[in-house]
Structure formats: C-alpha cells, structure tokens
Symmetry: C2
C-alpha cells in the first residue's frame, strides 16, 4: 500500500467530504457527487482522481455514467498499522517526561 498517497488524499477537506458522501450513499455518479457543492465539476473530477490513485475510491463505468465506490481498506490499513503505533492513549506521558529530564541531567 502506498500510505503516502492515502495520507495526502485524506489531507483535503473537500476530499474527506466526498468520502463522507459516498459513505452515506455508495456508488454515486460524478454529477450526483457535484450536487450542492461550491466547486466546478472539473474540480470534483480531480479530487476523485486523487482518491482513486490512493485506492480510496473505485470507479465503475456504466454506460455514459461513472459510479464511484468507496474502498475502506486503505483507511483501515492505516488505522491498524500506523495509527496503532501511537498507542492506545497511554498513561506514560508524564513518565516519559520524567525519564527525558533525568536523561538530560545525567549528561
């Protein structure tokens, strides 16, 4: 998995909104996704392309329409593999601090 592409795709508010919309109703077309947004269709197209590159959205051509399906896998991979590193909120924060200060003063 290219975690960089995923993180960068998620960095933009508009793209997170698109994912939110697809989450509410999966398989929407470009035009549907554009409805009510303060953005041109072309801007949305670009965002969707970035989401596709990050494998967060899978497109499906259906005649002249293009349906978009959310793919939760990369997000869960990040959650499992990267975010987990940063600990179930641990009680260690203060003890980290103490340790670090002791380390410093020993030098």
């Amino acid at each position: 998995m290219d975690d960089d592409a995923v993180f960068r795709a998620l960095a933009d508010k508009s793209r997170r909104l698109l994912l939110d919309r697809l989450h509410r109703r999966n398989g929407q077309t470009l035009s549907e996704l554009c409805e009510g947004l303060e953005m041109t269709r072309q801007a949305v197209t670009k965002h969707l392309a970035i989401l596709e590159d990050a494998n967060l959205v899978a497109p499906l051509r259906q005649g002249r329409e293009k349906l978009h399906f959310i793919n939760p896998v990369p997000i869960n991979e990040i959650a499992d593999r990267w975010i987990d590193k940063f600990d179930r909120p641990r009680l260690g924060a203060l003890s980290d601090l103490k340790k670090a200060l002791e380390e410093k003063s020993r030098k």
Copy 2:
C-alpha cells in the same frame, strides 16, 4: 479538535518520520531530531511547528533546549471518530454495487 490541522499535519512524509522518531524516543530536542536528516534545522523547526499546531507534539522548554513530546490523543480521536465510519472491512462492497446498479436501472 481541529481534525483538518491533524490530517494536514499527517500528510507530509517528513512529519510522519518525526513522529516515528518521537515514538521511538520521546522528549527529544530539536537538534536531536535533526540528526541524520537531509533537511536544515529550520525546515525541521517548521515541521515541528505544524505538528504543534495540530496538537500532535507538545514542546517543553528546558533551559536553552526544547524537548518534544508526542501526543497520541488527536490521532486516536481520528481513528475512533472518523476512520471508524469507513467500516470495519465489511462484506458489503459487492452488495453495494448490486444495489447501486438496481437503483440506476429503475430510473
């Protein structure tokens, strides 16, 4: 929580690396964090400022040194609140597809 700041802070590879380093050893100084990186100290300073703004890193002045402590809370908040929306990998992908196609053909 300002989830936008957090997502954007996490979007950069160098910043994720800094978090990785702090995760390995918490409470490092600026100079320590710079060691072995292909970046000037000032670039690292900027990255740390962004991480601080996103509340992912908490600084502590200690004499002329500045110690940096990772704060896992915002990351976990994202994991819990936002990423969870995108489902424990569900079996629904194919059935979503079917549903969407049926919906289309009904129109």
